[in-house]
Symmetry: C2
Subunit: 227 residues, 2 copies
DNA sequence: AAACAAGAGATATTCGAAAATCTCTGAATA
DNA sequence: TATTCAGAGATTTTCGAATATCTCTTGTTT
């Protein structure tokens, strides 16, 4: 089995994207081509293509003739994003609960299990949310919506999730008292019980809770910056 | 007042995008760089950047190392698209009706007036839907959603609208008996009356009606191709 | 005849230099 | 002192040639 070598552009694109999403660059930070070329070992065309793709996704902002920068964050934007995300994912979850078959259910259960068995925090000091858990978490929410069987809806949900990821990774907050596992269990149970109202309520609360924590962190950061 | 000369990339991008959306290239048609370079008078990097941006939007499909092609269409895809579009726009319209201020109302009325006063069909034989009307039509639906004041939601709606535009322009069907103006008036009236349920119902019917016509045209085209 | 291999041509991709544009500094002017 | 201007340096943008890859034809082998 030969592993077809990926096109360089694809690889560089994936790495830059992961780095932007992973908080390697600060919101609003300029992304100059020359340094990026060195960092990722690619030529200016490849970097440029990557950045314009990310711009199209809203992860990067571009001003023609001036340059690219990581997208800005703000409390207002976070609120809009959260609202849109809750609305769209609720929609998709309802479809999934209505239409999802046994195979979908199994995938959801599997994804949930994977997430539960992945350690959430790293051994660092202070502890960070581990990349593995983030992936598993994303996988669980993705699996839930998969049942809606509408590629357009899924695509939209993914875009919004990525934008949310950006906020989350950047702030790297975590609330000690929060029972995230419990929130997920509630979503899972309601979904398997095919109780759409209850599942959607749980999902919305889950996202709203996260957003509230992020918003507080964001506000604190702004205060710190202005002083 | 100096008109800042747009970056060439931006101009080429806009032209290619308009052409893809406008049905100049058939769904599934390959978009080879060399011919495109000549057509638009740009170098391969500029064309490539344009195509990868359009790929990110879902208007163009790309297979690494093989090339770009105009996105495929299918009855299934149209159904998914329509469903997502109705759901998302309904959401946005509800917010708009709930939150929109007097200024928004005025914009909606203005956009509607503009559309009503623009001739829908060209003088060609057979008559086509005029570009001016398409623009005005798009403007009306855009103005409606503007009141939701959520950039994320608006962005999503725009993406879906563009994809729909692609289907519409490509098939260029029009139903002689259909009272499009009446459908729009109903949406407008219900919106101004702040009757969300009625407005959303009218909007959904409007899109579903269009989709049904397109679906029929699409099915006929497939039959014609397979024979 | 079918399957495979080699090679020519077509095409996508990558590169780095050339050109265009922007930004910032410091001197000249009002 | 504030404003304007010129120019050096930094940066983005564009270009077309060089390279890598794919595709299709033709010929060879089984």
């Amino acid at each position: 089995m030969t592993t077809r070598p990926r096109a360089s552009t694809e690889e560089v694109y994936a790495r830059v994207r992961a780095d932007v999403l992973g908080g390697v660059y600060a919101p609003g930070e300029r992304l100059k081509s020359t340094p990026l070329c060195e960092t990722y070992g690619a030529s200016v065309s490849v970097i440029r293509e990557t950045l314009s793709r990310l711009t199209e996704q809203g992860l990067v902002e571009s001003e023609p003739r001036i340059g690219f920068r990581v997208r800005q964050v703000s409390v207002d934007d976070l609120r809009h994003l959260t609202s849109a995300r809750i609305d769209v994912e609720s929609l998709a979850l309802r479809y999934a609960i209505e239409r999802g078959d046994m195979n979908w259910e199994s995938e959801v259960v599997a994804a949930h299990h994977r997430m539960e068995r992945t350690p959430m925090l790293t051994a660092d000091a202070p502890p960070r949310v581990s990349d593995e858990w983030e992936t598993a978490h994303s996988g669980f929410h993705g699996a839930l919506l998969e049942g809606a069987q509408n590629p357009w809806l899924l695509g939209i949900a993914t875009t919004l999730r990525d934008a949310g990821e950006f906020y989350r990774r950047w702030s790297q907050v975590h609330e000690p008292g929060r029972d995230v596992a419990g929130e997920h269990r509630e979503i899972l149970e309601a979904t398997l019980a095919r109780d759409a109202d209850r599942a959607v309520r749980a999902l919305a609360q889950h996202y709203q809770h996260t957003a509230d924590i992020l918003e507080r962190a964001l506000a604190e950061r702004d205060v710190a910056q202005n002083s």
